[in-house]
């Protein structure tokens, strides 16, 4: 086994990137892809905790991919019956076991939200009240939490039934089912919480939520220290969305470059099909390459475009909202800027990566004296 051939990502100051299996599951084909899809859906419906799910599905994906490359039948890896395989593979997990395992982190997230909103009540208190006598309304949070738990149980129960009864039930269908039930739960909780008021004294809420957050973090640090000898999160080598997005936004990733090139050539061929149907001349490969070269010149306006969009969105939100005072306005501005900042940053990074990948592909074309179409054909044939 040649360890020197292994590619370690992000060596140096960034460390090793623990990316999600989701980035690679499209490499599986036919029966291997179907088997993996079934196992993924089963694990989601079982509620396997996220980190364990990433470990186990990464492991299975790697094994299935190597079996696919070596021509080993998928049954040699997962057996003849997928449900039996899943019961064996996830033998250490039960739905209710996972539910209770996920409760502590769920309460932690709940405590953080309650704590932050209670802080806002302190910064912007009701008139003529002191901290000792102030109260806060937890009706919305409790409604949301109860609807969320019920939605989670429904998703898992329906998912498990459909998976065992229908071979056509895929992970995509499970995801859509989840989205529909979650949206319905949000609508129900918004309707319900209008008439539900759970008014409690502010100070105990603040202290209890802060206390839970501190205890949870302490327990996490103690557990990590006992296992790894350090409290640093990086010691766990956990799969993270941040690391996965770093890989998605990594313009030097050859797989990502090939995927972008494939999509570009697909667009080019569809465009030519439409032109040919209308009786017009098709675009040549050279013309298409030049067109892409012109398009990426807009890259310099990319950041400006998203900053402009962020300012417009925040301004419109401010104009449509009535504020009771300066503090109300500032809190709203901070929350809007934060939320919109995250969303727009995501889209900005994604488009920037797209531009950088196209630039890298065009540079490769220039170096070899070929068009994007020729580059795609060579990469597909493995000749590059």
């Amino acid at each position: 086994m040649n360890f020197a051939a292994l590619e370690f990502m992000g060596e140096g100051k960034d460390g090793f990137h623990m990316v999600s299996y989701v980035l690679y599951k499209d490499k599986l084909k036919d029966t291997y892809a179907k088997a993996f899809d079934y196992v993924e859906t089963y694990a989601s419906a079982l509620g396997v905790p996220e980190q364990d799910l990433e470990e186990m599905l990464n492991n299975l994906l790697d094994t299935l991919y190597e079996a696919q490359e070596n021509g080993k039948p998928v049954e040699k890896i997962v057996g003849k019956d997928l449900e039996t395989f899943c019961r064996e593979y996830f033998q250490n997990y039960t739905y209710w076991g996972n539910f209770f395992k996920n409760l502590a982190p769920m309460f932690y997230r709940f405590a953080v939200i309650v704590f932050l909103f209670s802080l806002i009540d302190i910064i912007y208190p009701e008139e003529n009240t002191t901290l000792l006598h102030a109260a806060t309304d937890l009706g919305g949070f409790v409604c949301g939490a109860v609807c969320g738990i019920i939605a989670g149980i429904m998703i898992a129960s329906v998912g498990r039934v459909l998976l065992s009864r229908s071979k056509r039930f895929t992970n995509t269908m499970y995801t859509w089912m989840t989205v529909i039930i979650v949206v319905a739960a949000i609508i129900v909780s918004v309707i319900l919480c209008q008439d539900v008021y759970i008014t409690v004294p502010l100070l105990p809420v603040l202290l209890v939520s802060a206390g839970y957050i501190i205890l949870y973090k302490l327990a996490e640090w103690v557990k990590r220290y006992r296992k790894y000898g350090t409290i640093k999160k990086s010691a766990e080598n956990r799969y993270s969305l941040k690391d996965t997005m770093k890989e998605v936004w990594n313009d030097e990733n050859k797989d990502m470059q090939f995927d972008v090139l494939k999509e570009m050539i697909k667009t080019y061929r569809k465009k030519n099909e439409r032109l040919t149907k209308r009786g017009k001349n098709a675009i040549t490969a050279e013309e298409y390459t030049e067109q892409v070269r012109k398009d990426i010149k807009f890259e310099k306006y990319n950041l400006g475009y998203f900053v402009f969009l962020a300012v417009i969105c925040v301004s419109v939100a401010i104009l449509l909202t009535e504020f009771e005072g300066m503090i109300d306005f500032i809190v709203f501005l901070v929350i809007m800027a934060g939320v919109e900042g995250v969303i727009l940053r995501f889209f900005y990074k994604s488009t920037k990566t797209g531009f950088d990948i196209k630039k890298a592909l065009l540079n490769e074309c220039d170096a070899k004296g070929i068009t994007l179409v020729e580059l795609f054909e060579r990469k597909k044939a493995g000749n590059v």
């Binding site: 086994m1 980035l23 299975l60 991919y65 040699k76 997962v78 395989f85 080598n237």
Partner: protein, 110 residues
């Protein structure tokens, strides 16, 4: 090879035996076991065994990106694992000697 109860008893030791030869990973372990005649061992059977061995401290695990892309776990035998493996082999030898005496000497008589 069918008897699952018999398999459960010896699979941990056999997997440890494969790992004791050098750092390896899931698919390679399956290939090795198949080479020795364990043709019905799938990932569903192997992964829980590896998890148990890891939890008991008999193997150590290192994560790295595989050439194909997904994160791969590489397993090595630990000192505790080597001691456990040595003890397993001793016990296995004693048990098979006794079992052979019971099973095959009676067949010869009959």
């Amino acid at each position: 090879m069918e008897d699952t109860q018999l398999m459960k008893g010896i699979l941990e030791g056999c997997v440890l035996g494969v790992i004791s030869k050098g750092e390896t990973y899931g698919y390679e372990i399956l290939q090795e076991l198949e080479g020795y005649g364990f043709d019905n061992i799938g990932e569903g059977t192997l992964y829980p065994v590896l998890t148990r061995l890891d939890k008991n401290g008999y193997i150590t695990c290192r994560k790295a990106k595989s050439p194909m892309g997904p994160i791969r776990k590489y397993y090595s035998i630990s000192d505790a694992g080597s001691a456990y493996y040595a003890a397993f082999k001793e016990n296995y030898k004693k048990i098979t000697e006794c079992a052979d005496a019971v099973l095959f000497s009676k067949e010869e008589e009959s």
